[in-house]
Amino acid sequence: MESLTNRKKVVSDKPMTFMEELYLPAIFHGMKVTFKHMLQKRKTIKYPEETRVFAPVYRGMHVLKRDEKGRENCTACGLCAVACPAEAITMIAGERKKGEENLYREEKYAEMYEINMLRCIFCGLCEEACPKEAIFLTDRIVPTEFERGDFIYGKDKLVESIEFPIDITKRQHTGKRTEK
């Protein structure tokens, strides 16, 4: 059979030679190996100061996008909640009133939208299910908290701010609407 790696070694149980029985040469060889590692570059990434570069398709913390006029895309259709295998998403729909056209894109919007980050498995099915390009997973990491309740993210944490929009152009499921 063809071997899968080039590191294949034939194992044998032949009796040890005198040099091998001395055991000391093997120890010195091992010490040589560890000494080389001592001088090598450290592979640690010191997290809070340095962050690992994520792939653009990394599935991290969610964002609820606004459109180009700053209106929320989400229409509270509930498809993301249905798609979610971990049942992490809850929402309450509301009707847009007169004068709120600059806030919500369509007549229906999410009054309350919550994702339980402890339940979420970051599979990205919500992103795939969303017909309105409202929810995306980003390359941001969900920070640690001390209380379980703090992991239930409401709209205050999920909706992107108008001043600092979150770039999702590199993601896989974007651009359906702009193609039209």
């Binding site: 120890i27 010490m31 560890t34 000494f35 590692h37 001592m38 090598q40 450290r42 592979k43 010191k46």
Partner: protein, 350 residues
């Protein structure tokens, strides 16, 4: 009694005590750093610059932990166990000559707390009782794993002390004295014992690794078999003292090896004219040289620990009884014959 002498010795004892504790504390830091480097990691780097305040943070943590004594433990022995371990690893430093004589305030100060003429015997006596700390701790815990650890420690000590003693006798034969000062002075300049007795050095080195319970001989505290061995039931500063005494023992046995084999505070060029005029400078240089030899040994100790996996117990016994003791004995015999020929004891026979 000479008051000056009393003050001088007290100050020396205090300094040595503080240095031993300080070095033991920073050994923990350095051990973690070295382990990290060998494993391509960074190691502790949060407490202070490069993490140099880590030992202090660890110490504070140890003190703040709950001091727990098991219900069925022998309370008295449980408390004095770590004390004995710490005590025995500290008192060895009394006989170590730290450097050449220092001249201060018109007095000649010997940098040695006590110059016994039987220094090596004292050393081995203390080494033998150092197992009592572990033994008592393991026994008093009333826990079978602790007891196993303690039994392993004592059988290991007994096995390796023999080979260690025999190799020490070889050095005594070379120097013709039991006093550590004489042994050091015999190796004046570059005349170190390691060049005459490399086999003896290797045997002694392996044995002192086993005596200090360092990996690969750390079977008494083998985590995966004995859940921590003799200090399973210990917590808080009692555990801290056990760990500390191990590091102090490592420091002291590095010092002993430096004395017996690397010529203690001797260094090449100590007879030059410059040092003849500057006596104190010579003393300070010799102290620095001695400590760098100690640090070299400590480094090798740690380097070996993070290289070699732990022995199995039968392998340990095999190595101790069937390899090291015969090697040490043959070495002793050859050394004896060579010395006898050199001294001309065989002249009449031949």
């Amino acid at each position: 009694m000479d008051t000056g002498l009393l003050i001088e010795k007290s100050v020396l004892v205090l300094i040595i005590f503080l240095i031993s504790l300080g070095i033991a504390a920073y050994q923990t830091y350095f051990e973690r750093k070295l382990a990290a480097w060998i494993q391509d990691r960074v190691g502790p780097d949060r407490a202070g610059p490069f993490g140099i305040l880590q030992p202090i943070a660890d110490g504070v943590k140890m003190f703040l932990k709950e001091d727990f004594i098991p219900k069925d433990a022998d309370k008295w022995l449980f408390i004095i166990g770590p004390g004995i371990a710490m005590f025995t690893s500290l008192i060895t430093s009394a006989i170590i000559p730290w450097g050449t004589d220092l001249e201060l305030f018109g007095r000649t100060i010997t940098l040695q707390v006590a110059d016994f003429d039987i220094g090596i015997l004292y050393l081995f006596a203390v080494l033998s009782i150092s197992v009592y700390g572990i033994m008592i701790g393991g026994w008093a815990s009333n826990n079978k794993y602790s007891l196993y650890g303690a039994i392993r420690a004592s059988s290991q000590m007994i096995s390796y002390e023999l080979a260690m003693g025999i190799s020490a006798i070889t050095i005594i034969m070379l120097s013709g004295s039991l006093s550590l000062t004489d042994i050091v002075n015999k190796q004046h300049g570059m005349n170190w014992n390691i060049f005459y007795q490399p086999v003896c050095f290797i045997v002694f080195f392996i044995c002192s690794m086993a005596e200090t319970n360092r990996a690969p001989f750390d079977l008494p505290e083998c985590e995966n078999e004995l859940i921590g061995g003799y200090h399973t039931e210990y917590s808080s500063m009692k555990l801290g003292l056990y760990l500390f005494s191990e590091y102090t023992a490592m420091f002291i046995s590095s010092a002993i090896m430096a004395i017996l084999f690397l010529g203690g505070y001797n260094f090449p060029g100590m007879d030059s004219d410059f040092f003849k005029d500057h006596n104190n400078l010579l003393a300070i240089t010799s102290i620095i040289v001695f400590f760098s030899k100690i640090f070299l040994f400590i480094f090798i100790f740690m380097w070996i620990r993070w290289t070699i996996p732990r022995f199995r117990f039968d392998q340990l016994m095999h190595l101790g009884w069937k390899v090291l003791i015969p090697v040490a004995m043959v070495n002793l015999l050859i050394t004896g014959i060579v010395i006898a020929i050199k001294e001309g004891w065989f002249n009449e026979l031949m």
